[in-house]
Symmetry: C2
Subunit: 331 residues, 2 copies
C-alpha cells in the first residue's frame, strides 16, 4: 500500500508577503511556526511590525521547513524555485498563482530533480486592494482553494496540504492544472476581459454616456479597475484557454449583433444567459457528504471527480478525504 497518509505541517515558509502571501502568513501564524520573506525590505519590516517572523533571504526562510508556499509573481518563479530546490530538502512546495499550467512546468523542471514534491494551489479569494497592508488573516475563510492533482503528484503531499487548508476553513477543490486553467479562463479571465471592453466602449460614448452610466455599468466594469499586473496574470498568463473561450463569446455576440441588424431578437441569448445565471446562483444550495478513500484503487480519479462535479474536500484524516458533493444543477 502506498504511503498516502497526510502529515501534519509543523513549519511553513511563505515567500512573497503581498495580499495573498501576507494573509496566509497571518492566518498560519495562529497555529504553526511560520516565517515569511519578501524581496522588498519595507514589506519585510511591515510584516515584522505586524508580529510575523521574517527571514532575510529565500534560502534562510525555507531551510528545514515542512512546507514552502510560493506567493511571488509568476516572472519570479524560475529564480525563486532554483533557490528553494537547493535549500529546502524534503519540503513540500505549493503556490497560489491564478494560473496553474505554467507553474506546474516550472516546478517540474526545478523541484523534481532535487526530490522536492510540488502541489499547485489557487485560492479563489482576493480584494480590490493589494500588498501586505491589505492582508487579512480572515481572507480565506470559506473560500474555494483549488489544489492541483496530476498523474505525477505525490498523493501524500497533496493530502498534507489539503489537510492544512481544510483546517483553515477552506473548501479544497481537486482539479488538474489544465482543467483549472480552462475553468478560470471562463469565470475569472473572461470577466476581466469583458469588463475592460465594456469600460472602453462606455468611455467612447463621451461625457453623456458616462453621466448616464448606473448600476449595470458599475458592476460590469468593476474589475476593469484591478491592478494591471493581476489582469496580465489572469489573461496573458492563461492565453490559450482564454483565447478559446473568447472565441465562444465572439460567436455569441456576433449572433446577437446579426439578430439586431436583421430585425430579429437576442431572445436566445437572453434565455441561455438568464438560465445560466440562475443555475450559478442556485448552485451550492443542496448536496450531500461523501468520503474518498485515497488509498483505494481509483482514489485519485475519485478525488478529481469530486472537483469536476463542483464539489470539494472538507477534511482529511487517515488517508481519507471527507467531501461535499453538490446536488445536480436544476434545469
Amino acid at each position: 500500500m502506498p504511503d498516502v497518509d497526510e502529515r501534519t505541517v509543523r513549519s511553513v515558509a511563505v515567500l512573497g508577503l503581498g495580499l495573498i502571501g501576507g494573509s496566509l502568513a497571518r492566518r498560519l501564524a495562529a497555529e504553526s511556526d511560520v516565517v515569511g520573506y519578501d524581496a522588498d525590505p519595507q514589506t519585510r519590516a511591515a510584516a515584522g511590525t505586524a508580529g510575523l517572523a521574517t527571514a532575510d533571504s529565500v534560502a534562510a526562510a525555507v531551510a528545514g521547513r515542512d512546507l514552502v508556499v510560493l506567493a511571488v509573481p509568476l516572472p519570479a518563479y524560475e529564480r525563486v524555485l532554483s533557490v528553494v530546490a537547493g535549500a529546502a530538502a524534503g519540503a513540500i512546495v505549493t503556490d497560489v498563482a491564478s494560473v496553474k499550467v505554467p507553474p506546474l512546468a516550472a516546478a517540474r523542471a526545478a523541484l523534481a530533480p532535487a526530490g522536492l514534491r510540488y502541489v499547485g494551489g489557487h485560492p479563489m479569494a482576493g480584494s480590490e486592494r493589494s500588498g501586505f497592508d491589505a492582508s487579512d488573516a480572515r481572507l480565506f475563510a470559506g473560500a474555494a482553494w483549488v489544489l492541483c492533482l496530476e498523474e505525477d503528484t505525490d498523493i501524500g503531499a497533496w493530502l498534507t496540504v489539503a489537510a492544512l487548508l481544510t483546517r483553515l476553513g477552506c473548501r479544497v477543490v481537486p482539479a488538474g492544472a489544465a482543467d483549472h486553467d480552462a475553468a478560470v479562463a471562463r469565470v475569472s479571465g473572461l470577466p476581466h476581459l469583458l469588463a475592460l471592453a465594456l469600460a472602453s466602449a462606455g468611455a467612447a460614448g463621451g461625457p453623456l454616456a458616462l453621466a448616464l452610466a448606473a448600476g449595470s455599468f458599475r458592476d460590469g466594469t468593476r474589475v476593469a479597475g484591478a491592478r494591471a499586473e493581476l489582469i496580465a496574470t489572469l489573461c496573458d498568463g492563461n492565453r490559450e484557454a482564454l483565447a478559446a473561450v473568447t472565441d465562444e463569446v465572439l460567436a455569441a455576440l456576433t449572433a446577437a449583433r446579426d439578430a439586431l441588424r436583421s430585425g430579429g431578437s437576442i431572445a436566445p441569448l437572453v434565455t441561455a444567459g438568464r438560465a445560466a445565471r440562475h443555475r450559478w446562483s442556485g448552485s451550492g444550495l443542496g448536496g450531500h457528504p461523501s468520503t474518498v478513500d485515497v488509498s483505494a484503487a481509483g482514489g485519485r480519479a475519485a478525488l478529481l471527480a469530486v472537483g469536476a462535479a463542483g464539489g470539494h474536500v472538507t477534511g482529511v484524516a487517515g488517508g481519507r478525504a471527507d467531501c461535499w458533493l453538490p446536488a445536480p444543477a436544476p434545469g
Copy 2:
C-alpha cells in the same frame, strides 16, 4: 418672445403602476393631485390599499390632468397614446421608457395632431425587483433623469416637466432621443448583453467552472438575472445603436483574442479599459454651476450642450435653468 416659462404641475395621471410608475406615483402623491391607472385590477387594488387614488380606465385617469406619465411597456404605447390623445386635452405627456426614439415616433404620430405636447423621459433608476410591490417613493432621489429635447419639443413643456423632476431631487439631463439611445446602448444595453454572454460561457464550463466562480463572475453576470422583458426593451428595443456598439466590442475582443493567440499581450485593452473605468469613477468629483437662459437665442442648444458635457439641470425658475457642469475628465 416665445412662451418658455415653466408652469407648476398641479395634477398628474400615472399610467402603469409597476416599479417605475408606482414609485413615481408614490413620490408625487406627497405634493400633487395624483391618480394612477394600471391594466391589472390587482395592481390597481394594491395601489389603492397603499393610499393612492386610482381610476378604472385610461380615459378616466387622464381627463383634466396637467401632466400624463406613460409608464407602460413599449408594445402598449400605440393603444394607450390613442386614448390619451382623445381624453387629455391640453395635457403635457411624458414617459419613462428606457429607449427614446421609438416612443418619440409614436408620440409624434398620436399626440401632435391632437395638440398634446410630448416630452420623452428616462429615469436612470431601477431595482432587481419589479412590480408595484417593489415600488418605493425614494427610488428617484438623486437619480439622473434624461428629458428629451428635440427640434419640435415645446420648450415650455420641457421646462415644466424639468421643474417638477428637479423638485423631486432628480438630476435632469437634456439630450436628443437619438443621442440618448446611443449612450444607453453603451452603458445599459451593452452591460446586459455582455453579462448574458459571460453567464453562458461560465455555465458552459460545467460544475467545476461554476464552483470556482467568485466576485468577478458574480458582478459581471449580475444583470443577466434581470427580467427578460426589461432586457428585451433595452436590447431589441434599441437595436441599431446596440448593434453599432457591439461591433466596437467585437473588434476589441477580436484584437485581444488575436494577441493572446500570437503570444502577444492584451496590455493595450488593459490600459484603455483601466483608464476608462477610472475616468468614470472620477467623474462627478468636480464641477461648477451655470445658468441657461432658455428664452435667449440658442437656449435650446445651450441646454443640449449641458447634457453632452455630462452636466444636468438642478432647478428651473422664470424660464431659466440652473445647471451643474462637470469638470473636464482627467487624462
